[in-house]
């Protein structure tokens, strides 16, 4: 067996033990007094040490040995493994993993350098090893690795290749639509049959490709837990991090975009939300704060909530700070969660007067909001002063296809994701009630009367920064007062709204493409798609209009 083969076995073994240790640390954090996880960690470290010794990787042997001794000393004195040793365990695992990834090109004197770094790190209590492979010209070793890779059954594919294939399918889909349009004139039964066959096969192919891109949400939760453990250590706060991902699968490109916003929000929860132990005890809260991450799937969207039981946001001081620093120039009579979110997502706004080591560097929710918008997502907030904060992110599960309703507004056709429409109904103008603040629908089905706004006005006014709910705006052009109006019942920023559209056209699975420059920054648009007739159509994010 070649050396490379041994290294492969070593890597697999190491991976198994690392994941065992990760799992044990998780149990340990929930029950620090439980001795069993520490025993499992010791066992795995011992195995890592053994196999590393066989391979002659003395640096790994040494580092695991030092860690073993450290954990043993904790166990001997019956001191529970708290944040500090846990952070250290993560650091060592990270270092071992980096060492492993740098193999096999790096079996040289550089190894000694790693040993030194890890050893010094362990002694000073923090391990910071950044180990990059430099010796790339070791061509022989590389080609052996390549050969092994090529006979493996699993291959790694860059997501961009799958995206390109999905794009190609969407092109075929337009051709199929064009054929359909053509056959409306030709009326050939045979052609119709063939088109239907193509349609079915394209759908199958598309579904298979999309499924290749899907990854469980839990892929990123481990990284989040490591991050949290580090923040807890540096802030000295105690946190219970509860994760429930419900085995939800998400497009890997969406998942990638979610990491930074999630880390940011969780960091905020720990740093600004969860109070120090003493303060929590003073208000009769459990000393350990709770941060919960929940993922749910609702139609084509994933709803991710980050909830903490900290002090919440003190709205008054946020508004004062925003006014003082001219981030806003007015305040409404009633400061609700929507307004609070509006203020907090103003570019550059931060609530923290001093920069802490963890957050408060002026990079605030505005960045979170814009990165979510890049993937067609949105953010809402529920604040309860003194009791906690709940932030909900809504992102499409996959960026490619969204079932949408095509509607006509004025001369133009726009698409609205079916998942954001609660109901479609017809109403006569007699059912509307005009007040000073706008027109409302008197509907026995609704708890709160929905505001009636025409889509045309909504889109037109959004660009002037004008008041979309102007009571004087006509609801439907070219229609007599007796005619029934078509209403889409949706929620705009959590408020029930009835949007008047001129005409409902059809429901279609649209391949959504992201907007490119210079249109990238247009808000309330998820992306665009090309219809069967070749015309582009914008897909609206009606909930944030």
């Amino acid at each position: 067996m070649s050396e490379t083969k041994y290294i492969k076995i070593f890597s697999t073994e190491i991976d198994t033990h690392i994941s065992t240790i990760n799992a044990a640390v998780k149990v340990l954090r929930d029950a620090p007094k439980n001795l069993e996880p520490a025993r499992i960690i010791m066992q795995s470290l011992h195995s890592i040490k053994g196999i590393s010794a066989t391979m002659g990787f003395s640096c790994v042997v040494e580092v695991t040995h030092l860690l073993e001794e450290l954990i043993e000393s904790y166990s001997r004195k019956e001191i529970p493994l708290t944040d500090r040793p846990v952070t250290l365990i993560y650091d060592v695992l990270e270092a071992i993993e980096e060492f492993k990834n740098a193999l096999p090109e790096e079996l040289d004197e550089n190894v000694e350098r790693v040993i030194k770094k890890i050893r010094n790190g362990i002694r000073s209590g923090s391990v910071e090893v950044r180990y990059k492979s430099k010796d790339i010209d070791n061509k022989i070793s590389n080609s052996v690795k390549e050969m092994h890779r090529s006979i493996d059954n699993n291959i790694k594919i860059n997501v961009s290749i799958i995206d390109k294939l999905i794009d190609d399918i969407s092109e075929l889909k337009y051709t199929e639509s064009a054929l359909k349009t053509l056959n409306e004139k030709l009326k050939s039964y045979k052609l119709k049959h063939l088109i239907r066959k193509i349609e079915g096969q394209l759908r199958k192919l598309y579904n298979s490709l999309v499924s290749l891109k899907m990854q469980p949400f839990s892929t990123i939760t481990n990284a989040l837990e490591v991050a949290i453990s580090k923040y807890c250590f540096s802030t000295g706060k105690k946190i219970n991090f509860i994760v429930s991902t419900n085995n939800i699968l998400i497009d890997s490109s969406v998942l990638k975009e979610l990491i930074a916003p999630l880390i940011h929000l969780i960091r905020n929860a720990i740093d600004h939300g969860i109070e120090p132990v003493k303060e929590r005890e003073d208000v009769r809260k459990a000393p350990k704060g709770n941060v919960t991450l929940t993922v749910k799937k609702i139609h084509d969207f994933a709803e991710i909530t980050i909830e903490d039981d900290g002090r919440g946001i003190i709205a008054e001081s946020v508004i004062k700070k925003a006014l003082d620093n001219s981030f806003i120039t007015y305040t409404p009579d009633e400061i609700d969660d929507n307004f609070l979110l509006y203020v907090l997502t103003r570019a550059g706004f931060t609530t923290k007067s001093e920069v802490s080591t963890v957050s408060g560097r002026g990079i605030g929710l505005d960045i979170v909001k814009s990165s979510l918008e890049n993937i067609g997502g949105s953010i809402t907030l529920e604040n309860s002063e003194g009791h906690g904060l709940k932030i909900t992110l809504k992102v499409p599960v996959t960026t490619a296809v969204i079932r949408s309703l095509l509607v006509k507004t004025g001369e133009e056709t726009v698409a609205i994701p079916v998942s954001s429409i609660e109901r479609i109904m017809l109403a006569e103008k007699g059912e509307f009630r005009k007040t000073d603040s706008g027109t409302y629908l008197d509907s026995p089905l609704e708890l709160e009367p929905p505001e009636v706004i025409s889509l045309h006005t909504l889109l037109e006014n959004a660009q002037d920064g004008g008041d979309a709910s102007s009571p004087t705006a006509p609801l439907a052009r070219g229609k007599s007062p007796e005619e029934e109006l078509c209403l889409l019942m949706i929620k705009i920023r959590n408020k029930p709204t009835a949007i008047v559209v001129d005409e409902l056209l059809s429901e279609e699975d649209l391949f959504i493409k992201p907007l490119t420059q210079p249109l990238k920054k247009i808000s309330s648009v998820l992306g665009y798609s090309i219809l069967g007739d070749g015309l582009p159509v914008f897909v609206l994010d009606v909930n944030s209009l």
């Binding site: 210079p518 249109l519 247009i522 090309i530």
Partner: protein, 141 residues
Amino acid sequence: MDIFTFYIGGRHYAFDIDKVAEVTEPRRLVSIPKSLKYIKGVINFKGMLYSIIDTYSIFDLEQKHSQEHDIIILEDENYRLGFLSERVIGALTIPDFQEGIVSETSECFIKYIYNLNNIDVRLIDTKEVFKTIEIAVTCYM
């Protein structure tokens, strides 16, 4: 140097020929949900979305009579844009910076003015156009 010239609103304009990808026949523009300064609409060109610049508004020109417009397609690694044109003239080779032919100008979005057979041809500064449009879009959002 080679330039690509066209005519609109009583004036002759030109692009650096390297920037021009193609010219398309008149086609229907689709409005953007939120209308933006200088952008008249979008088109689907080979399956991609192109923002169409209102050449009249960006150069402050008057559209004397309604007519269909050819679209000059411009591309770089970041942008996909089209410019409305009343009449496409085509490629021209002009001498580099020859006295009496080329003059500097303070006109917006214009790099140089070339005097060719007593006709002023304005060379468009595409970089400046891209930048201004980006700023205009950002300000509206």
